[in-house]
Amino acid sequence: MDKKQREFKVLLVDDEDVFREATARQLAVRGFVVLTANSGEAAVEVVNNDPPEVVVLDQQMPGMHGSDTFIAIKQINPLIEVIMLTGNTSVDNAIELMQMGTFDYLMKPINIDDLLYKIEDAYTRKKLNEKQQREAGQ
């Protein structure tokens, strides 16, 4: 298992307590700084106050739905990369969300190590995009 320390924050959003806590624990063991939120609304608040680099977002949530939360996060900061999780097996929403710029769309159940690599890749993508934007602005 990859235990190196990572210096960036990941926000994990899922209304399912057991799932969220277990996943957060697993990511923390692997060296991530993990923030959690149990709803879309709470996620938006975290993004405003303590912005993460990468968000892992469950799609099916009561209240503010995953897709709406995704849009709200991108409005606050379009550079934050979002990985969508879903328990749904249909590709209906997946196509739309990928076209809108979700970093990736993963269908549960997936392996925790796969998620870890996805988060790292999302972080890389974010850093590269930030650099480009800086250089474009110069």
Binding site: A22, Q26, K74, I95, N129, Q132
Partner: protein
């Protein structure tokens, strides 16, 4: 909302539109970027393999020989859509959205499939409990495969089966809705992915307990008890066997052993036992199993079979034909005293009987064994081993009349199900013969049955043995070699297509051909899928020697045992008659057939064709083919990124006439190799394709020849070109060679002087993923010599089995879906070729030198000093 979406899409476009690689970066950026792209490529390859596996499974079901229900269809459809989506997604992220129209194509296919599924979902079982008198095969979707089969045998064929009834999926749904249990199950399912097994175990135990603690809806309980009273009155001695009759897959084969069976259930215990059985769906083991098989829980349901337990006097197995000797059509029966497991497990040597299929059902063979022990029911419904009474130990279990009755049942079953059957039977205490189960008999292929397969037929010349079976069947015809696509134009009716390698382009002649034999390819590849679609016997014969099957030779291809015989073999041609299978014509089969039209057919066979576009993708198979093709191209271009990061690469320390810089994307080097003075030794490389390439490059025969003696007129041509037409040769490439590596991957670009070559290769254990692409372009000499050189290279590669294309001074070669060792041997050849071709254009003074160079390379003679004189 729509403006927000529009804005987002624009931001996304702006960000993704520019290539992130335009900027030179630092080492960690570089590593991340390469790893990122490679990870996507690997995802795409994995999804492609998985999708093709689903396609071949659906093909198998379309033969109509095995029972399946709606859940099977939704599961397979979800799996294939998911993998197609994964491929489209990976390709688009790799290419910064170059193929975005694929999403629209996928959406269209998705819509079409969904509408077909929705029609069927509206239908469902009207009753929660069905006695076997009322169950037929068409009820498989809600009664489960096992129940439906027993009902069909009893009601359509009037063959006795054990007494009993089915509790359908309606019972399952009623129970879950009555107690509001769906939520609990979803929670549990999501946890598998976190890999917290303790947590999963605890939650599984909780769910099991929860399900068992809930009451059955009163209506359901009453229906179950009524069905049991109807069959067995108040008889307290009746014991029941209760087992799952799963609907998620094909009958009970795939779920074998996963779910609970309860034996010796007394009448008052039936309802409790029912709950225990359905709760077994939620054991940690079952959940993990479903997850590993990619079965999803949305449509999860279970039917249960309640059967009166039979304390069999004798039991055994019946095959309606020989399982691997396809010329033996006798009905084969074996029998032991007591219960069946001892016949199957080999604890006791059973009696063996063979019966001919003529009208009289003549007993052909009768071998009576000594049977010392037997398995019997005890009073509690369990089983125990007992000695066989001495007078029965050497007696036959079945009388000749009983053997004939049983053989009659076998014949009827085979006729009804329209394919050979594998049957379990029992004799009850009153001497009545019952059928416990009947399923299609698998005609064994030699790959998994090598020791037991039938010997080759006598009296015929066996040319090839041990071919892998890509599509079953027997075909006869005259050998036609196909070396290039153009050869397909005059392919004769009934010919046997022979090629070095599989290709989906052979689809053009699949209607005319009587069989296909290829030297390499994969049984789950595109061509194999097409061959199954066309029901065309197809063999993949590794190490196929073309000389053994020359053009014009008549052969019989036995794609059941993987053999090729010279001439016509009438026994084989008449042995297995293709017949319509029993699932055909059922509503569920029709539905699968309709859906399959949007999944399985491959229309995009030729990447050069104008319809090879996202809009041309009419099926999921097309999408997969398109993504697969373009993923190569994306990976091929990865070398363009390498020079932008040259400051961060490692130098290869090897005695080679060129500098090679290395970029490791993951596990391409030994762990401790990374940081020694920024240089790496050859023995620190673990990338399989790169090791093989270097082996060729370092080969003593080709190596150490530098510099090649300069031929004067050749040198003059080079100098003339460089001085007179600087613009023409102006696109001088950088003088570096890059190897971007991973454990199974290599992208090697060599840009030396005025020519470049790129090799892109994947080399692992999965044949379907392996490939080599090679491009060679340019040179410092005049156009004529450059063209001669690429033609010489093309000739060499063609002889090595590559598919080759020459345009001007560029040659493209490709090879795919070969075993690892073969790919490695070709990488070795390419390594030699890279060294061999340096300055080769100076030697290309005459037209004859093209063949002369290729001949010498093939002969292993790499010292070229005297080109043939111009005629």
């Amino acid at each position: 909302m729509s403006t927000i979406l529009g804005n987002l899409k624009q931001i996304y476009k702006a960000l993704r539109g520019r290539s992130v690689a335009d900027q030179p970066g630092n080492s960690s950026e570089m590593n991340a970027l390469f790893r990122f792209r490679y990870a996507l490529f690997k995802e795409l390859l994995a999804a492609n393999s998985e999708l093709l596996t689903v396609l071949s499974d659906m093909d198998e079901k379309l033969k109509g020989e095995t029972v399946f229900g709606l859940s099977y269809i939704t599961n397979q459809v979800n799996k294939s859509l998911r993998n197609a989506f994964q491929m489209v997604k990976s390709l688009n992220v790799m290419s910064s959205g170059k193929h975005r129209d694929l999403y629209a194509a996928l959406e269209k296919i998705n819509e079409r499939i969904k509408s077909i599924i929705e029609e069927r979902r509206a239908e469902c079982a009207s009753r929660a409990v069905m006695p076997y008198d009322q169950v037929l095969l068409k009820d498989a979707d809600w009664a489960g495969g096992k129940n439906a089969n027993l009902g069909e045998i009893k009601n359509r064929l009037n063959i006795p089966v054990p007494e009993g009834f089915a509790i359908t999926t309606k019972g399952f749904h009623d129970f879950f809705e009555y107690n509001d249990l769906k939520e609990a199950i979803i929670k549990q399912k999501n946890l598998i992915y976190v890999n917290e097994f303790d947590l999963l175990n605890n939650l599984s135990a909780e769910t099991l307990e929860l399900v068992r603690s809930k009451p059955l809806p009163p209506d359901l309980e009453q229906e179950i008890l009524a069905a049991s009273t109807e069959l067995w009155g108040d008889d307290p001695s009746v014991l029941v066997a209760m087992r799952s009759s799963a609907v998620g897959e094909d009958g009970d084969i795939s779920y074998a052993g996963q779910y609970l069976t309860l034996l010796g259930v007394t009448r008052p215990e039936i309802c409790e036992a029912y709950k225990t059985i359905i709760s077994s769906l939620f054991s940690a083991r079952s959940i993990s199993y479903r997850s590993s098989k990619g079965v999803y829980d949305e449509d999860l349901a279970m039917a249960v079979a309640c059967l009166k337990m039979v304390d069999s006097r004798a039991s055994g197995v019946l095959y309606t034909r020989h399982p691997y000797d396809i010329t033996n059509e006798h009905i084969l029966i074996n029998a032991v005293w007591g219960l069946g497991p001892y016949a199957v497990d080999g604890v006791v040597t059973p009696d063996a009987y063979a019966v001919t299929k003529d009208t009289g059902l003549t007993l052909q063979e009768k071998t009576v064994a000594t049977k010392l022990v037997q398995l019997r029911l005890n009073a509690e419904g369990g089983v125990e081993e007992r000695p066989v009474p001495p007078d029965l130990q050497n007696a036959p279990c079945l009388s000749d009349d009983q053997i004939r009755v049983l053989a009659g049942y076998g014949t009827a079953l085979e006729q009804h199900y329209k394919c050979p059957q594998d049957v379990e039977w029992a004799m009850d205490p009153d001497g009545q013969l019952l059928i416990l189960q009947s399923r299609p008999l698998k005609i064994q292929s030699p790959t998994n049955f090598s020791l037991l397969k039938a010997p080759p037929l006598k009296g015929y010349e066996l040319i090839v043995d041990g071919g892998e079976i890509a599509s079953q069947g027997v075909g006869k015809g005259v050998i036609v070699h196909v070396d290039a696509v153009e050869d397909l134009a005059d392919f004769p009716e009934g010919g046997v297509l022979v090629a070095r390698h599989s290709s989906p382009e052979y689809v053009i002649v699949m209607r005319q051909a009587s069989a296909i034999i290829v030297g390499a390819g994969s049984v789950s590849g595109h061509m194999a899928a097409l061959a199954r679609e066309f029901d065309l016997p197809t063999l993949i014969c590794a190490n196929l020697s073309m000389d053994r099957i020359p053009p014009g030779l008549e052969v019989t291809v036995d794609a059941y045992t993987g053999r090729i015989y010279a001439g016509e073999v009438p026994e084989l041609l008449t042995a297995i008659k293709k017949e319509e299978a029993h699932m055909k014509g059922t509503p569920i089969y029709d539905q699968l057939e309709r859906i399959a039209k949007h999944v399985i057919p491959l229309n995009l066979v030729n990447p050069e064709a104008p319809e090879f576009t996202p809009a041309g993708c009419a099926t999921l198979h097309d999408l997969a083919r398109y993504c697969h093709e373009y993923s190569y191209k994306e990976m091929f271009q990865i070398s363009d990124l390498a020079s932008k990061f040259h400051g961060w690469s490692l130098k290869l320390d090897a005695a080679l006439p060129m500098d090679i810089h290395l970029i490791d994307m993951g596990n391409g080097l030994k762990e401790d190799a990374l940081t020694k003075w920024n240089s790496v030794k050859v023995d620190e490389i673990v990338s399989a394709p790169f090791i093989a390439l270097l082996q060729g490059m370092l080969n003593k025969e080709v190596h150490g020849l530098e510099p090649r003696p300069v031929n004067f007129s050749g040198l003059m041509s080079v100098i003339r070109e460089q001085t007179l037409a600087p613009g023409h040769v102006g696109d001088r490439f950088g003088d570096r060679s890059y190897a971007i590596i991973a454990d199974k991957y290599l992208n090697f670009s060599s840009r030396v002087g005025y020519h470049y070559s790129v090799i892109d290769a994947y080399c692992g254990d999965t044949i379907n993923k392996n490939y080599i692409t090679f491009t060679f372009k340019g040179g410092a000499a005049d156009d004529v010599r450059k063209n001669r050189r690429v033609r010489a290279i093309a000739d060499i590669l063609d002889r090595e089995g590559f598919r080759v294309q020459v345009k001007g001074d560029k040659v493209d070669a490709r090879l795919q879906k070969y075993p690892k060792s073969y790919i490695e041997s070709k990488m070795d050849i390419l390594g030699r070729l890279l060294i061999f071709t340096r300055q080769l254009d100076m030697l290309m003074t005459t037209e004859q030198s093209v063949v002369w160079v290729a001949d010498n390379f093939a002969a292993g003679n790499y010292k070229l000093t005297a080109p043939p004189v111009e005629a």
